[in-house]
């Protein structure tokens, strides 16, 4: 290993957590900056959605469409998955490969459950004629919630590929950093969902 050689990036310090070793610090910081860009992206979508919320063009309103039971379960699934991801990171810090695999796999299953519910929700709307072309409100709804959903899909594939790497290489500074970064991504999607839950679903149900 290149531990005591002058590297392209910052020198190594033993007081840092595993994922921050070597150039991990640089990459984790870079990912935070990427998340800042993602915040802007979702903010724009939220702003567009809020402007269009009432523009239903004679079509179904949010009050008519949204199903409290459905979006509540979705929320529980995703929030729990964020928690289990956190437990996975905890096991990573304890160098417990099996614990990481178990918790992260549970995360993936919860994510898949969320995704399945979202797809069936979308399919239901389309089947009753509430599709993307029906009104500006529905265009904005599908694109905002769909962008989050496609992020979750990508996140699941990404987590799986990192899990394969953890299985192959164990918990090294590099795999730890990758796991930590995908964890950040997952928590970020959870935060976005909290806003979707309140701004889109809860508000949409009462207004």
């Amino acid at each position: 290993m290149a531990v005591n050689m002058e590297s392209l990036h910052e020198p190594i310090s033993s007081s840092l957590p595993l994922e921050y070793q070597g150039d991990g610090n640089l990459k984790i910081f870079g990912f935070w900056v990427f998340l800042a860009a993602e915040v802007v992206l979702f903010s724009t979508l939220f702003a567009v959605y809020l402007v269009f919320h009432g523009n239903v063009a004679g079509g179904p309103t949010s009050q008519q469409l949204f199903d409290i039971r459905g979006f509540t379960i979705e929320t529980f699934l995703l929030l729990t998955s964020s928690f289990t991801m956190g437990l996975g990171t905890y096991e990573m810090r304890r160098q417990n490969t099996k614990g990481v695999l178990a918790w992260v796999l549970i995360t993936v299953l919860l994510g898949l459950g969320f995704l399945g519910m979202e797809i069936s929700e979308f399919a239901h709307y389309v089947s009753i004629g509430a599709n993307i072309s029906r009104s500006a409100f529905l265009s904005a709804f599908f694109v905002l919630v769909g962008t989050h959903g496609s992020h979750v899909t990508l996140g699941i594939l990404w987590i799986l590929s990192i899990l394969v790497q953890v299985m192959r290489k164990g918990i090294t500074p590099k795999t730890a950093r990758k796991l930590f970064v995908v964890g950040l991504y997952w928590h970020f999607l959870d935060v976005v969902w909290v806003f979707i839950f309140t701004v889109v679903y809860l508000t949409g149900k009462v207004m």
Binding site: H9, F29, A36, A37, T44, L45, V48, S133, A136, Q165
Partner: protein
């Protein structure tokens, strides 16, 4: 058989539209064959692949950005000349109205997104890591991704001219005229998707340079000791990170309208055309600061170097950069005062727009005070910087006129506006990148561009620029509107327009002379053996020209602003050249490996984009799957770095006369 070929030709290649298309087709085929033939004849394919297409070296990526920017300058410039040919005389029908619409759209889009942006990013790539004493950017592989995404985005945009037709709704692509109802066909799809691909690359560049500057500075280089160009790039990166995702969303929404029948910007089903104008300019106004702030950075370096003085008012320069960046997000409505925002909203945006003149004015005075009592050296690079000040001032002051909402009802979308933004974008950004090109050329290639030819290019271009755009202020006030296809005789516009067209030809000539300068320099190089041809002040001049792969054999220690100047002029001793590298401090250097993947992924993006443009999902979706596979393969790559041994570093440094 022949008949069906002709039918396909008419449908996809617009052969029915006449000789202009046929000529373009022939030129594209001939140029491509010429490039392929030349590479094969000179046996340069492997060299091209190993040294350039797969490189992750920021210096080479910077050079590729600038080459691409020159090509796009040529394309956008040809568009400009065609526009001027059409407008040279009254009642002209050199082009059809449809072609004219396409040409002004591609001119604007290419000049801003595929010329100005890559030129600026090219200079960032070349200078920033060297100025902060780093060995590369934070994420070299991502940097290569950025470049290839931009490159293939630009390529996709450019082929629209001969395959399917170009976008024709203006570079601002306003809804609803850019929507599916008023603008069917593939032209606008090209705009949306090629900008999207290039835009992803730009966001990555913003992240990359922010992290590079914040995390990879040499020891001792505090933020307030950074060179001013690096400061400008840091602030620009922040603007990119906060502005470009808005463009991403905006383009995607119109794409949903056009491809999947959504109703964001349509006039029916509750859509709002004004939503486009707002979103577009929330990105678009910061965008003009993205292309101007690094130019300000270049001028700061150049003025200080060639006045042989420290930059006046360093802190004020930094504060004004930050102020401009913040204000740039608060002015977007001034692009459409006339579109019904109401008096109070317009007042706010008038005020915020005028406010930008304050930090900009501070910067102008600081450059002037830097020159005051300096020993000014009139190099080509300095001439561009000197010409920038009065010319940009004209653009800036007319900008303040436009900022006044009531008066804007008179100026809006007239040639007065066209003159204004060409005065700021050309006298600011274009003069800036030319100044930077002459300034950093020795560091890029180890030779100085010929100064005599360079000065010819400067004078021809600068005078012609004023000839082209100064009359536009007047015809604008006389009532000539932007994007007007042709105009009747007898309004008194004819002579002005003719002068503008002659000026445009002069700018073309100036560009040709500059390209000739580059060709001449390649044949008759004036070598820079010192690494410091201008008696520079910042760290990039402390290393050999061209910079070795690893940049710094030993990472320097920074003691203040103008770090290299301080090394050359230590307090205790006589000033003298600092060259020697301390052999005992050389260690093996860790560098990233080349990778073919950024190139391949971007090709896949190009194919996917082409598929979506034509709504050929059988092509678009597999293209995206290849992109995804490329990303996942990258994740599984573990051995992507190598070491340069101390022996090799010593050999390189001895060859450069440093050891």
């Amino acid at each position: 058989m022949l008949h069906s070929i002709l039918q396909i030709g008419d449908k996809y290649f617009m052969w029915n539209e006449g000789p202009m298309i046929w000529t373009s087709d022939a030129l594209i085929v001939l140029t491509s064959l010429g490039i392929v033939g030349l590479l094969t004849y000179l046996k340069r394919w492997k060299w091209l692949w190993d040294e350039w297409l797969t490189t992750v070296d920021h210096k080479k990526i910077g050079i590729m950005y600038i080459i691409a920017a020159f090509a796009m300058f040529f394309r956008g410039g040809m568009d400009g000349l065609i526009i001027r040919a059409q407008l040279a005389i009254p009642n002209n029908h050199f082009l059809t109205a449809e072609h004219y619409d396409q040409v002004f759209t591609t001119h604007g889009t290419i000049m801003i997104l595929f010329m100005a942006m890559p030129f600026i990013i090219g200079l960032m790539n070349i200078a920033v890591p060297l100025q902060i004493g780093a060995r590369d950017v934070a994420f070299p592989y991502l940097n290569a991704m950025s470049f290839w995404l931009f490159f293939f985005g630009a390529l996709l945009f450019n082929i629209s001219f001969v395959i399917g037709g170009s976008p024709d709704a203006g570079w601002t692509s306003y809804a609803p005229i850019a929507g599916p109802f008023y603008d069917p066909g593939v032209g606008e799809n090209y705009y949306l998707i090629s900008l999207q691909i290039a835009g992803i690359g730009t966001i990555a560049t913003g992240i990359n340079f922010l992290v590079t500057i914040l995390k990879m500075r040499a020891p001792g280089m505090t933020l307030m000791r950074m060179p001013m160009f690096t400061w400008s790039v840091l602030i620009t990166s922040v603007i990119i990170i906060f502005a470009f995702p808005v463009l991403t969303v905006t383009l995607a929404l119109l794409m949903f309208d056009r491809l999947f029948g959504a109703h964001f910007f349509s006039v029916t089903h509750g859509g709002l055309p004004m939503m486009w104008a707002n979103l577009f300019w929330i990105w678009g106004h910061p965008e003009v600061y993205i292309v101007i702030l690094p130019a300000f950075g270049v001028f700061s370096e150049v003025v200080s170097t060639f006045s042989h003085k420290r930059l006046f008012g360093y802190k004020a320069m930094v504060v004004s950069l930050v102020a401009i960046a913040i204000l740039s997000f608060t002015t977007w409505v001034h692009h459409f005062f006339t579109m019904g925002a109401g008096a109070s909203v317009n007042s706010f945006f008038s005020f915020s727009t005028m406010l930008i003149a304050v930090p900009t004015g501070v910067k102008i005075f600081n450059w002037l005070f830097t020159m005051y009592k300096g020993r000014i050296e009139f190099t080509t690079s300095m001439l561009w910087a000197l010409a920038f000040i009065p010319n940009f001032l004209i653009g800036g002051l007319t900008g303040v006129m436009l900022a006044s909402a009531p008066a804007d009802y008179q100026y809006h979308n007239s040639y007065f506006l066209v003159a204004h933004f060409h005065y700021v974008l050309i006298a600011g950004t274009v003069f800036g990148v030319f100044s930077g090109l002459y300034y950093w050329w020795p560091k890029m290639f180890g030779q100085k561009l010929n100064e005599r030819i360079g000065k010819w290019a400067f004078w021809i271009f600068m005078i012609s620029f004023n000839m082209t755009f100064m009359p536009m202020y007047f015809v604008g006030l006389m009532g000539m509107t932007r994007r007007m296809y042709t105009y009747p005789a007898g309004l008194g516009w004819g002579p002005f327009n003719l002068i503008e067209t002659i000026g445009a030809l002069g700018m073309g000539l100036g560009f040709v002379v500059m390209v000739f300068d580059i060709a001449y320099t390649i044949r008759h190089p004036e070598k820079d053996l010192t690494g410091d041809p201008w008696d520079g002040r910042t760290l990039e001049w402390s290393i050999p020209s061209p910079a070795p792969e690893y940049n710094f054999a030993v990472i320097p220690e920074v003691k203040g602003i103008d770090a290299y100047w301080m090394m050359k002029h230590p307090k205790e001793q006589e000033p003298g050249p600092v060259k020697a590298v301390d052999k005992s401090k050389i260690r093996p250097i860790h560098m990233p490996n080349n990778s073919y993947r950024p190139f391949i992924i971007s090709v896949a993006f190009f194919v996917a984009g082409f598929g979506f443009i034509w709504q050929w999902y059988w092509l678009g979706i597999p293209g995206l799957i290849v992109v995804a596979i490329g990303l996942f393969l990258r994740s599984f790559e573990y051995n992507d770095e190598h070491f340069i041994s101390t022996e090799e570093i010593e050999r390189t440094e001895i060859a450069a006369g440093r050891l």
